[in-house]
């Protein structure tokens, strides 16, 4: 079944801030940060369900999101072009500037 992607490569997205009691794969350091989708990595069963014996359905779209290092860390010491890329599932992302 063809489902449309919520985001396209180049879109700005903001990572949700949350700490659910169940298992999840969005590191705390990247929550609340704004980045750009650089790749769409396919659909995968949802680890938040799989981790607790669930079937992982519906599958979640996984995005590779790029963040400027100096927007993630106040203490980043490298050049301003440096990036951190994190793989994040669609339901952890919110649109920016819409």
């Amino acid at each position: 079944m063809a489902q449309s992607n919520k985001y396209q490569t180049g879109d700005q997205v903001k990572v949700r801030v949350d700490s659910p009691s169940h298992h999840y794969r969005t590191p705390t350091y990247i929550q609340g940060k704004t980045g750009v989708v650089v790749a769409i990595c396919g659909r995968y069963r949802n680890p938040e369900s799989l981790g607790h014996g669930g079937d992982g359905m519906p599958e979640q779209l996984l995005y590779r999101v790029s963040f400027a290092q100096n927007s993630v860390w106040d203490r980043y010491r490298g050049p301003s072009g440096d990036k951190i890329l994190v793989d994040i599932y669609e339901h952890w992302l919110d649109p920016v500037g819409v």
Binding site: H22, Y29, I30, L50, G51, H52, V72
Partner: protein, 100 residues
């Protein structure tokens, strides 16, 4: 408060220790047992991660890699009804006696 595994960016000025320890036999067996149980669909990677993350934070930080795996596997196998902790205790005692 992040869980103990969620450590990206946490203040840490330790240099990276690049030496690799010689894997012990039990570590290689534990590694292999995990993969075998994974192939059989008895435990999933995501469940193992969840079990590891549920360890007491001090315990998580004090155990070695395969010790963490073992603690998590025990949790899962008990939860899924394959084993009980008492059974494991008794088997440990039995193996200890057998080794003498």
């Amino acid at each position: 408060m992040p869980k103990p595994h969620d450590m990206g960016g946490e203040p840490n000025d330790e240099p990276i220790d690049q030496s690799d320890h010689q894997k012990m036999d039990w570590e290689m067996r534990a590694d292999a047992l995990h993969q075998v149980l994974g192939q059989k669909g008895i435990r999933r990677t995501d469940e193992m991660r969840r079990a590891m993350e549920s360890l007491d934070p001090d315990l998580y930080r004090s155990l070695s890699y395969y010790e963490r795996w073992t603690a998590a596997l025990e949790l899962l196998m008990v939860e899924k009804g394959y084993l009980t902790s008492d059974e494991i205790d008794r088997k440990v005692t039995q193996l200890d006696q057998g080794a003498n």
